[in-house]
Symmetry: D2
Subunit: 457 residues, 4 copies
């Protein structure tokens, strides 16, 4: 490991952390020394490392073993003291403004999450309670702005894509920005960065100085997918389910770019919600797009949706190949319909209250072998419930592929067994095989892919 | 009773009530129907009646017997529906912007207070807990602004003063505004309005568009002392003690104009705090001033302070007679010292954390005959404790003079007996007699004043 | 003469005088020493004296005989050095912001006027040329703002009116401000101040921070009618005709309050323009109003218009007695029609290009006895031409009453002889007599009024 | 020629063209039909083509042979009507905001230039007169902002450079932006674009929304070097000498990147000015920099300066190789010194009045064979005069290489003869040969370079 250049520094907050009561300062200090310290340190390190493209969580943490961050009380409020911090986060001894902002965003969100938990105010046992919780987290982060016309486009897709696909996401972002639309992603590299980069240029061309680049992340991902420097609003949600809910509640439309099993999981999450009977008439523009070379990928996904969830599900998701202008035009049109609908329903522009999210999508799915084996991949249930089970299947596959806990489970007990109706399992098999063939099943290291699952009927 | 012109209307909020979670909307609706409804209705009526000079709480409430205000839920948030509201609050059918703003300020503060109580998060049993509570109320009202240089001057004094005294407060306000200072008062007529009016003109002359006119009130007073229309920040604190604490924590200096027993109570509150050993070295500009004719009043008060609390207490309170320019210059200079002190101590500009307020000043004093009789008006105690007891004495006299409960107590049990050392009781007697002679003991109606107290040694 | 407190000071400019070329600085320095110096000194003194209510031009100039103002060059631009300036214009040694602003407005306008003259770019011999000149003066003063909706209400009337009339103008201004309208006057006391004062309060109530208080003056008047401190845009037009044109080109509606012969002259100026055939279909709200006591005055004026210019002229000028709310509502409605008309015609909101102003209204009228005697007050001409002659008649009477040159002419040659048709001269006689009876013929000093005119048929 | 997609459209102005007098509208319409029409059409086409990287002036003009642009009068002002305009300048039928802005910048500057000429107000026969002219052009374009701290860095260099050199300019721009500095270039591709692109990203990182990207061009260049879309202030100066003066008067420091003979000309222009005795003590940071591979180029230029103008000239120009951070730090430090100097001298921050520019640098040099042959490249003159002659030599070579007129002259009369002292001609020969060897002598087409000059001693 090469020694990195480091620096020590003191920074004071901007924004909502500027006016704190003594009780809150006390809470923060406890954060700085107590059990959530490791979490904050890890997020802070990821943020300070913004822009160092090639790192993953582990290498970052290893590269700065003696990095420390302390929260100090002073009568006027708090300040952070950093030791052995990555030197690249500073210019002539002063921390770069966006880095400083994100650092305090992380602190803000971690403290708020913690304090809500201690409060016992949140009702985690009801769908409404969880939705309120997500709302409060986002409002506390000042993400929800009353009266602003709908214009947030969520972009989903892989963080590790081909150069051609990456360039395509930039052009799409550019076209979205030309039409005044803002970008929201998961805030790492790849599809999380390309559309923001494109929109930055086109917002400048349109003399639009208030462009929003919203990054929604969670503690488990931020280290691996550090917020790219374009992100100008960073929110750290407490877990993957709250983050997914945040996406669909603040976004006014969603574009799906090429990705792997994770992207498939996201698509199934969204379709599972949109196929819920309550949501059938809700306008929600959803477009799948990619460059010419991505055609086979997009078609396979489309076919899979058709074969498992049916034609109606297929129709909720428009496919546009290699036409960024058309993607942007249709998204703008779709968001226009969302605007009119919300106005008619008197719903908020800043939060999609009318979207029903079944509780099963709000609680985390734990991919044990038992849970995976008992997924209900059969026809004798409403389509949106089948979608929920399929999403869990992909969630398990992602875990078995790349997450610590999942990998250990596979090592101990062998591949997951996934069982279901033949006319569901066959398309699933084809799709998974295609991911493997197209090298979209990304593994740590570059070894050939050995499936972590067996399909059975 | 003459029938007043009324109107029906619907208004939607601006500001912090624009983005509400469904839980919060639910809470609000309960407010609209539940036990705090009467409170909100009363505040709303006072606000809608802003600018109707001659009314007191009772007459306002009686003038609009069928006034109603309902909180309605709609998906995008809330809206208020008003029935039989005072027509003067509207122009061509639209509510005047400042009235609408204050209406939602009242709702905001009442809801917040209520929700904090239900939360059980506030520690009402410790001085720190109460101070944190006041801080959170003010922050929720967006009164606390980080980074703004100290410039809030609190003006205390009577709401019913002579024309000459009223004009004098306007000139002082004008001089303060010329020097860039903002005004904070209890938000009714008289001394609560004059300085704001003067500063409005001088802020305009200095092309200062961000001038703040902060009104701090509480539910028991707002109806009698409706916020004057210049107030552009209204905060409703839950009771008189929280309101007094708010004044001394957000104000950077205090000016005392002529007034009655209530003003004497306020002065003793402040001196009681400033004489606390912890606060001895804390800069806190305090000026007593009035026009030439008010000289006897000011001198009497000054002598009383000297005779009871001593020379040191006298010295914390500068007297300036008939020289508005000098008042403003000394206040500006005093606030300059406050600024430097806070900078040195790293204390917040927006909240005076360093000021120690003894718990005895934070809990309400209940003026029963027993409590009044057991006030400790003796020399054998620290000066700041004597001040606390003297304040309670005045508080009781105010209650016995004008407050419902106090008046009934006097009717039942005769005048309060106030007992103390002779060299305290004599100056007290002289001061009270002077108030009577100068017609500063205001009573409902215009009957001759019959004292509600007997002094004994 | 009591010695006034004076002070010396140096001030630097804000706004358009901040970036000057060396040629322009040179020009300015010449201004400071050359022939226009006396003009600038006089305007500066009037501005520095803002708020000293009782002074007229002569007493001001006499009160500060050794006042001097010098324009100094420095590489970065210019600065003004003042000697023996009125001390009231300063707070703790620093000039009040609005005074400083107006001082540089005066310099800006005087220099621009001068430079346009030297330029020989202005075509003073064509109506279009003069209108362009007025436009350029106003644009240079940044009075013309593209894209702002019409909302400027011009208020005309006397600077010396009864207290009741003054209070009425304040209430009307308050009602205008409640409806978001801005005020433009001739920037002295009386009717020039009242509406601005009322609107200041109502703009604050409506949380309207961009309220405009436009004062249009000319060098001959500014000393006698110093801009009141509410004026936040001051423009000094070169003479009375340019100033009148500026009023009708930037104003979107006009209200006429009680006044004397001068006000009658203004009304005839405006009717003379509105009766021009080109302007017949042009919407231009014009309201005459006053408190109850002013009824006789308003009715007399109205009758006079009817008797001389006819019913159509009467109808262009609505009379509303003692109903400020109604005045404001009708003005708002009238301006709404102006807005729609300009939108339809694609005319600018900021300058009334479509209004035809006959050249005879643009050139000054010199009231010699010969010119007065040859006024054509007869029926055998278009109504708008008769209006022009009547305006000149009043202009002459004003001059004969109060202007130096006019008074001297009357002393030398006796009263003006004004000759015309009997059915014009009789109403004129009645109107003038009424002005005398109501003490609206104001004279320097308080001597009884001796008419400066004789009417003949 | 492939047919390009075109569109018709109407656009209305923003900014200073919004409030026009009728005289000015008339002028503009004459512009639209008169002799300057061709000029405006050409600039407009270049601007509408922004972002089409590969085009040069001729191909653009040929690609849109039937493009037309008309200035229409409407009462409210003007509007532009475009026929057969490049479709890429529009999004869904609406012109991109920056394009529209630049279009009206071009109109503004062309009209102003024209009107100043007609005015006969400019004194072209004095150095001061020309400088005032440049000042007025820049002020009219709102480039000069009073009170803003110095931070404009001019970047000079080739528009056609290697990818490595281009990337280097981006990194330097990024480092400048991190330190809050703004960028000014000649507004085409290559060095004109790279630093702006880098600074865009770092300004965003530093949350600096007011970053300025100033592009100074002239009609003869704009078509070939269309403003890149990042430029947010475009000024079209009337000729190359005014443009060079604008650079050195508004820039607070200059960085020279690799380029060809044109860049050498610019360097000699600047050194010629800085070596003027009046300017010796004037701080003016000047840095030459490039990536490692550009070392030979930079050293050769440096040596040439030493050999011809001497060590003092060498010392005014710091060389930094391959260290963008160091370039930015030294530039920031240099500009800090400029700030202090101007403050001390009371000079404007927005225009370098104190810089003496000899008249010989202000008038265009016409590169006829006769003028080239009579250049005085000898030692017996002040160094800054030698620099002036050397600059003219390079100016001629540029013309002989690429400009229409120059090329025709060479065809007719053979290569220029340039005569001078041996110890000047030898270094010149070496430098020119190096340019040829490094392919920095760019020619239209890709033929081998045949020198347009002969050196003699």
């Amino acid at each position: 490991m090469v020694a990195r250049k480091t620096t020590n520094a003191t920074v004071t907050p901007k924004g909502s952390l500027e006016t704190l009561s003594q009780r809150e300062v006390q809470q923060l200090r406890e954060t700085g020394s107590g059990s959530v310290y490791a979490l904050f340190r890890q997020c802070a390190l990821a943020i300070l490392n913004t822009g160092s493209h090639s790192d993953n969580a582990k290498t970052i943490l290893e590269a700065y073993p003696d990095f420390e961050i302390r929260i100090l009380q002073q009568d006027r409020g708090i300040r952070l003291e950093l030791f052995n911090a990555p030197a690249d986060a500073f210019v002539d001894g002063e921390m770069i403004a966006s880095t400083r902002e994100m650092l305090f965003s992380a602190l803000r969100d971690i403290v708020y999450t913690q304090s809500e938990l201690e409060n016992k105010r949140v009702d985690f046992n009801s769908s409404k309670g969880i939705t309120d919780y997500v709302f409060h987290l986002l409002r506390n982060a000042r993400t929800l702005r009353a009266g602003v016309e709908p214009k947030i486009v969520v972009c989903w897709g892989g963080h590790s894509i081909s150069t051609e696909e990456y360039k395509y996401t930039k052009v799409v972002g550019h076209e979205l920005g030309l039409r005044g639309l803002d970008i929201c992603t998961g805030c790492g590299p790849g599809v999380m960065k390309g559309p923001m980069k494109g929109a930055t240029i086109s917002h400048a061309k349109q003399r639009n100085v208030g462009g929003r680049y919203l990054g929604l992340t969670e503690p488990g991902i931020i280290a691996a997918e550090a917020p790219n420097p374009i992100v100008n609003e960073l929110v750290i949600l407490p877990d993957i389910e709250k983050r997914l809910e945040a996406f669909v509640r603040v976004g006014h439309g969603i574009i799906i770019f090429p990705g792997g099993a994770g992207t498939a999981e996201e698509l199934l999450y969204l379709l599972g919600i949109l196929m819920h009977p309550d949501n059938r008439d809700l306008p929600f523009p959803l477009i799948m797009t990619g460059p010419k070379k991505a055609t086979p990928y997009l078609e396979q996904l489309h076919e899979f949706i058709g074969a498992t969830l049916g034609a109606e599900a297929q129709q909720r998701c428009k496919i546009i190949i290699n036409d960024p202008g058309q993607v942007a035009r249709e998204m703008a049109q779709g968001i226009h319909e969302v605007t009119q609908y919300r106005r008619k329903q008197n719903d908020a522009f800043h939060f999609n209250w009318l979207l029903t999210i079944d509780e099963s999508f709000q609680h985390p799915f734990e991919p044990t072998h038992e849970n995976m084996a008992s997924l209900k991949l059969t026809r004798n249930q409403p389509v949106h419930e089948l979608a929920a089970h399929l999403r869990r299947a992909f969630s398990g596959i992602v875990a078995g592929n790349v997450k610590d806990k999942g990998i250990r489970r596979i090592e101990q007990h062998g591949p997951y067994e996934i069982i279901g109706d033949r006319d569901i399992m066959l398309p699933l098999d084809r799709l998974l095989q295609a991911f493997v063939d197209q090298h979209r099943m990304k593994l740590p290291g570059n070894t050939a892919y050995v499936p972590c699952y067996k399909l059975a009927t």
